[in-house]
């Protein structure tokens, strides 16, 4: 019987990949465990092993093909003695299946009505209008920011698990070991508490460490040093010494990695005096804010997001591009409601604004970008204009960033409010693994839309 070999999912976030190379050709006999192809995922180039034995009957996807969706048939294996004539029959329906799915997916988009509200996106205040731009992923922007700062300042170094030889567990430090050598790009054992302490001591000693946590979930092993050692020493020493350093890594939910690996620490760190806390959304912000973080004389918690790593944005081509902390960015101007978010929450905020526009509701969308300091003024000015506010974040609802903003708005703009502020957050549960439950646990665009309608009484 002919078996279809499907494009495999090789990472939690992989939706499509590049079929980089075929290691077999039609007619080859394959046994279980043989490497049949090399596939490039969002994280790595991986070898694809055959799980069963068979003969390569037909290769359906040429090597070098990019954007091959997971589960697309890429080859057909036959058994010994099986005629290749059966192949056309076997491959035809299989190839038709994903195509049908694709048209189904695009159907609702085509049916969208024209937006009645005009969308005004304010130019970025971070660089002059007319600056040359290039497309970059968040991943590339982060690496460029670190590499540029390491070229500029000898005391900056990167340390963490798998940052050097492995090129980064999420490929953020790709190529950095080659450029800077093992003195400045340092692999550590799996000992977060230890290396966070060592890095903090090194910062006391006058260096500027960048500590990568493979994910911020593992920084909980080290949180004592982040808070008790890094954040408080400047104060405790009466200003004599502090910890000029960056703690960075992916934060929040990825995709189906369960309760211990899916937690948003934004509100946790934002509570700590002595820390600065950054949680960007766009690649340009990742770049400009990372450069600022490295130059800042304080410990900076830099919260990244795995799902955003592969997302592309326009990034300015400038030799010196930094973005100051404490300046929110207005992504979209509007008059009816203010949506405030940060990090991956911006995805829902912007999607919601698009949907609301179709229904004639004009939303102003603000990206806080830094959570300590917070740009209250931009938020308050917007709320005074729209008289309504919805906050969006992936973290838990109790003592959230949204709670804090609501209190601030209440105190400083009470008379301007036409409705109570609504906080859209992740649900008050540990992250479940099951696909359907995980979707429910996360904040959704629909919830943001509903909240905006509620505060605008629509």
């Amino acid at each position: 019987m002919a078996t279809e070999i499907l494009m495999p999912a090789l990472s939690p976030t992989m939706e499509e990949g590049t079929l980089a190379k075929w290691n077999v050709k039609e007619g080859d006999t394959v046994t279980a465990g043989d490497i049949i192809a090399e596939i490039e995922t969002d994280k790595a180039t991986m070898e694809f092993e055959a799980v069963d034995e068979g003969i390569v009957g037909k290769i359906l996807i040429e090597e070098g093909t990019e954007g091959v969706k997971v589960n697309t048939p890429i080859a057909i294996f036959v058994e010994e003695g099986e005629s290749t004539d059966d192949l056309s029959a076997a491959s035809a329906p299989a190839e038709a299946a994903p195509a049908a799915e694709a048209t189904h997916e695009s159907a609702p988009a085509a049916a969208k009505p024209a937006a009645p509200v005009e969308v005004v996106s304010k130019a970025s205040p971070d660089f002059p209008e007319g600056t040359e731009m290039k497309q970059q992923t968040v991943r590339e922007a982060l690496r460029d920011a670190m590499a540029e700062e390491m070229r500029r300042d000898e005391t900056v170094f990167l340390m963490g698990e798998e940052v050097a030889e492995y090129q980064g567990a999420y490929k953020i430090s790709q190529g950095m070991l080659d450029e800077f050598g093992s003195k400045r790009v340092i692999d550590t054992p799996i000992t977060e508490h230890g290396f966070a302490g060592i890095a903090t001591g090194a910062a006391f000693g006058g260096l500027k460490p960048i500590v990568e946590f493979m994910t911020f979930n593992f920084a909980m092993q080290a949180i004592d040093h982040l808070i008790n050692s890094a954040a408080k020493t400047l104060y405790m020493s009466g200003g004599q010494m502090g910890a000029p350093m960056v703690f960075r890594g992916p934060n929040g939910a990825a995709a189906r990695v369960g309760a211990q690996h899916s937690q948003d620490y934004a509100a946790w760190y934002a509570q700590i005096p002595g820390l600065k806390v950054v949680m960007p959304y766009s690649a340009a912000d990742y770049k400009g804010l990372m450069k600022t973080a490295i130059r800042d004389p304080n410990p900076v918690i830099f919260l990244e997001n795995e799902i955003l790593y592969g997302k592309s944005f326009e990034v300015p081509v400038l030799d010196e591009f930094t973005i100051p902390f404490g300046k929110a960015r207005i992504w979209r101007e509007g008059t009816d409601v203010t949506i405030v978010s940060f990090g991956i929450g911006m995805t829902y905020a912007l999607e919601a604004a698009d949907k609301l526009a179709e229904e004639g509701i004009s939303a102003e969308v603000i990206d806080l970008r830094t959570l300590r300091p917070i740009d209250y003024d931009t938020v308050l000015a917007s709320v005074m204009k729209t008289n309504r506010c919805v906050t969006v974040e992936e973290g838990w609802p109790v003592a959230s960033i949204g709670n804090h903003l609501s209190a601030t708005i209440m105190q400083r703009a009470f008379d301007y409010l036409d409705a109570p502020v609504i906080n859209c957050t992740g649900k008050d549960v540990p992250m479940p693994y099951a696909a359907n439950l995980e979707k429910l646990a996360l904040v959704t665009t629909d919830e943001v839309v509903a909240a905006c309608k509620e505060v605008t009484y629509r």
Partner: protein, 332 residues
């Protein structure tokens, strides 16, 4: 104390046919199960992280052979083999991997987080090293209650560098806790080889600093593992305190599903598979010792495939958890 290297070798002479067949079946079940899990992951039916145990089967099968009812076990995220070896149901494990209602955690835990009170399996932990003090706590509870149960705490060579392991060693010895610390040294922590993470020549000898006995074991030899397990268990049951087994093993597959595999050569993996495979070793004892024929083994293979296929079918057809489950089990 007298730490030592384990001397046992695979000698079939004093091992019964039934015992050999049982090890063969248990190891084969894990291997076929894991291969199937890899397939389901590739098809998108399993999400997130999925750490396969292929190559390491002799470790859990050998050690489980040294346990008695009431003994406890706890491990990391690379946990499928441990669950099957302690008698948990393949259907329930596979359905947890697909995040379905029929899974051991009703689909809420996933590959890394499964538990079975009935089988005294205390998880499935995602934070490297966390299961070590937790395991000592389980042992503490048995000692407190005054029974003679033993806890097996499994952790990796990478985890062996975590500070909490050494805090635990100190207290476990101080309080004579009945725990076997099993270091599954598969030579790599993700892409970092043991040589790149420590300069200490062996991991089990670190116990000496705390006065803990231990030994190194050939983890590709299920009989050697079982022997060492029996020694460790006897020591713990006698109330002498903890014991360390550093079991030298090897994982054939990537760390999780996405692994660029640049940190070791294809030849290194191939050589292990060809020369040291734990299942092949028992298979050859069975055949050369006249305990089983090729046909007998084929029949076993077929039965195991059927069990695994059924688990996959169950895992595909078991429904997703009810939406209300999002809000249950947060508080007791």
């Amino acid at each position: 104390m007298a730490p030592r290297k384990s001397a046992s070798k695979t000698t079939s002479s004093n091992v019964s046919k039934d015992e050999l067949l049982a090890y063969y079946k248990d190891m084969l079940l894990i291997r076929r199960f894991e291969e199937k899990a890899g397939q389901l992951y590739g098809m998108g039916l399993i999400g997130g992280f999925c750490h396969l145990y292929i190559g390491q089967e002799a470790v859990v099968v050998g050690l489980e052979a040294a346990t008695k009812e009431g003994d406890k076990r706890i491990t990391s995220y690379r946990d499928h083999g441990h669950m099957l070896a302690c008698g948990m149901d393949a259907n329930g494990v596979m359905a947890e991997l697909t995040g379905r209602e029929g899974g051991y955690s009703k689909g809420k835990g996933g590959s890394m987080h499964m538990f079975s009170k009935e089988k005294h399996f205390y998880g499935g932990h995602g934070i490297v090293g966390a299961q070590v003090p937790l395991g000592a706590g389980l042992a503490f509870s048995d000692k407190y209650k005054g029974n003679d149960n033993v806890t097996f705490a499994y952790f990796g060579d990478g985890a062996a560098n975590q500070g909490q392991v050494y805090e635990t060693y100190n207290m476990a010895e101080l309080w004579d806790l009945p725990i076997v610390f099993v270091i599954e040294n598969n030579q790599y922590a993700m892409g970092t080889s043991v040589q790149r993470s420590t300069k200490s020549p062996s991991l089990w000898e670190r116990g000496a600093a705390y006065g803990i006995e231990g030994e190194e074991v050939d983890g590709m030899d299920v009989l050697a593992v079982k022997d060492a397990g029996e020694r460790a268990v006897a020591y713990c049951r006698a109330g002498k305190g903890p014991y360390i087994l550093e079991v030298k093993t090897y994982r054939y597959r990537g760390h999780s599903m996405s692994d660029p595999a640049k940190y070791r050569t294809r030849e290194e993996v191939q050589k292990m598979r060809e020369e040291r495979d734990p299942i092949e070793a028992v298979r050859s004892i069975l055949l050369t010792g006249g305990h089983a024929s090729e046909d007998d083994l084929k029949a076993i293979d077929k039965d195991i495939k059927a069990v695994v296929n059924e688990s996959a079918e169950f895992a595909k057809t078991s429904p997703e958890p009810a939406l209300e489950e999002l809000w249950t089990d947060i508080y007791a």
